[in-house]
Amino acid sequence: MRAVHDEFHGDLLEVSMGPQHPSTHGVFRMVVTLDGEQIVKLKPVFGYLHRNHEKIAESTSYLSSMPYTDRLDYLCSMSNNWAYALAVEKLGGLTVPDRAQYLRVIMAELTRLVNHSCLVGFLFNDLGTSFTPLLYAFREREKILDLFESLSGSRMMCNYQRFGGCRVDPPPAWLAAASALVDNFPRFLDEYETMLTGNEIMLARTQGIGPMGAAQAINAGITGPCLRATGVDYDLRKVDAYGFYPRFNFRVPLGAHGDTYDRYMMRILEMRESVKILQQAFRELPAGPIMDPKAKLRGFRPKVGEAYGRLEGPKGELGFYLISDGSTNPWRYRVRPPSLINLTLLEELCLGRTIADAVVILGSIDIVLGEVDR
């Protein structure tokens, strides 16, 4: 017996995109079922980069986990460090000196610039440019990574934050260089936007593609620029007011459609706001110590208890949940990875779209497999 269709249907084609594929941002794999070019089913498969991050952190001291957090979202090591430090500081009741608070904001916002310029570049690569926008984005990113390297010794694995402060105090020359870079950054954004934001092909490829509803996004636990693109005003820098963020004047851009174009524009607008935060931070940076004198890095034993530290990472809410049993190791260590949680809506966004759209939607969600797989 054969099923009778009232219209022409061909066979479905199952394509395994990844883990080796040019645009799955690492080792992500999508098993897509295609009807022609249309996606009828999409199954995300991950875990190829699983490194046992959480278990390793539970079997080592609090300080030793700090460099591991660099490897979570390897584009944003500074933010990862800070989120972990926040959790440990809550657990141990540590305070952070003013100068260190400002330095943390500077590093986190520079990281946001790195992450967003990278994302925007890769998004255009997914949209089919031959690397030109990506390389221009990388030019700016490299300048910031050079700063990170001269300060922390590593371009991407900075291992800079400590619970109770920061590791090294930047010399005045570093601050001057960073300040000059930040002042020049809007020029890059203007150039970028002139070339690309209004481009007809860009508009046709992104507007109305993969729209996410506000309720849908909240139900799925989406955070960060993807959530704000749907029009939900939720930025942890304002909601939690962690660090010294209440002292800074910045606005939170909000989208209306939640589609790929809005997600792209959120990144661009957030970069512009980050520049404002950075300029203010360089102006107001106080002198003083950068570590809490009470903080004991080696052999740190917090009291029995639990703490959840979270911050607005470039990709969304990055949280660390720690349970202490009074020993030198955390009894439980858990990461809330924004990449993984933002990825959960992928199939819903892609169904009925073509394979070309799926690649772009994945690119606009912004994932890093180091964080998804941990």
Binding site: V15, E37, G128, S130, L135, G198, I201, Q207
Partner: protein
């Protein structure tokens, strides 16, 4: 010695060395050899030019290491890179997937190179340099060009790879969609010139107004519109960005080339550039005056050099486009063709007819002729363009 007729004199001198019975054979063999050599080298240097230019557009240096063997100190800005690439491509292992259709997999690269070379036979490279004088040269050119689609589908089907198959289907949809505007954009030229012969079309664009403004077709309203349609269709026909869907790297790995390696891959690569060069050459012939000099006083430069200069200009334009634009989606690509380019090309057909019927309008009527001709293409361009981009605009955002 006359530079203009130098190639012909050389050919005749060589042909005269042979007995009369063999002369026709040597004559054609020489022509074929010269085309293969010149455009083979042209292809080689196009690849390095593309890589260099793209690199400069992207704030990089591009390949600059390859020099000459035995002269390690000589770097030559890397212009010998294509030869290094060729050696690499030849010496690489040729991998054929176990499940592939061996015959089709082998035949596809061979056929695509053969078909893409056929077009060169009817291009007038200079005042007297045309390999084959055909009365229906344009028909022949498009017939030969259309056969490459077959080879692309053979590659996609024969590879037994899902990405290749998807790419092959995309390629067919794309090439068929764009064959139409490509040919329709050429028809007005045929109407105005009254001939299908490329030689006659190039010759018809001779002459200058005030010795400065050449009478090329691109400098007429219908010719300009046809040239733009031709350019867009050429981009699509030769699978170049923003129409490089069959080999969309971010989606389909390398499309129909996914399962090709080594020299077979190089053959596809070569065919793509041959196709692009042949189409550019046709564009130069039809719209940019072929071998004609742009100004009267520049005629001392041999005609074949003018042809080459214009050809290089076209290629550089295509490289520039590749370094700049994003890729369309397959449905947008076909929509652009059927809802925008084809209607516009059809209207332009009428425009060409109008131009062909009114060559004797003089005095103030010349202005009217230009105005009517321009209106026939500009008004539909604006209206159709608006419909094409309806609902798309940069947005403004609110802040919390």
């Amino acid at each position: 010695m006359n530079l203009e007729t130098l190639p012909l004199q050389l050919r005749n001198a060589i042909v005269d060395l042979f007995p009369p019975a063999l002369q026709w054979f040597v004559h054609h063999l020489l022509t074929i050899t010269v085309i293969l050599t010149v455009f083979g080298l042209f292809f080689a240097f196009t690849t390095i030019a593309e890589r260099k230019l793209l690199a400069r557009l992207q704030n990089r240096l591009g390949p600059n290491r390859a020099g000459l063997p035995w002269f390690p100190k000589l770097k030559l800005w890397g212009i010998t890179q294509p030869f290094a690439d060729a050696i690499k491509a030849i010496t690489k292992e040729d991998i054929v997937p176990a499940a592939a259709d061996k015959v089709l997999h082998f035949l596809a690269p061979v056929l695509i190179v053969a078909f893409s070379l056929l077009g060169f036979a009817v291009l007038p490279f200079g005042r007297n340099l045309i390999p084959v004088e055909l009365d229906a040269a344009l028909l022949y050119f498009f017939a030969a060009g259309a056969a490459t689609e077959l080879a692309i589908f053979m590659a996609g089907w024969g590879s037994r790879n899902k990405y290749s198959l998807l790419a092959a289907m995309r390629a067919l949809a794309q090439l068929i969609s764009y064959e139409l505007p490509l040919i329709l954009s050429v028809v007005p030229v045929v109407m105005v010139c009254g001939t299908l012969s490329t030689k006659a079309i190039a010759a018809a664009q001779g002459g200058w107004t005030f010795g400065l403004l050449p009478h090329w077709h691109v400098f007429t309203p219908w010719g300009f519109a046809a040239f733009i349609i031709f350019l867009i269709a050429t981009l699509a026909e030769s699978n170049r960005s923003p129409f490089d869907l069959p080999e969309a790297e971010s989606e389909l790995i390398a499309g129909h080339l996914t399962e090709y390696s080594g020299f077979k891959y190089a053959l596809f690569f070569m065919a793509e550039y041959f196709g692009l060069t042949a189409l550019s050459g046709l564009g130069v012939t039809l719209f940019l005056g072929g071998w004609q000099a742009p100004c009267e006083f520049l005629q001392f430069i041999p005609s074949y050099l003018w042809f080459m200069i214009k050809l290089v200009g076209m290629i550089v334009f295509f490289i520039w486009v590749r370094g700049t634009l994003l890729r369309l989606r397959i449905d947008q690509l076909t929509r652009l063709s059927w809802k925008f380019l084809v209607p516009l090309a059809l209207l332009n057909l009428g425009n060409g007819a109008f131009w062909a019927l009114t060559p004797d309008w003089t005095g103030p009527l010349v202005l009217a002729r230009w105005a009517i001709s321009a209106a026939i293409v500009v008004v539909p361009f604006v209206l159709l363009g608006r419909r094409l981009t309806a609902g798309q605009a940069p947005r403004s955002y609110r802040y919390a």
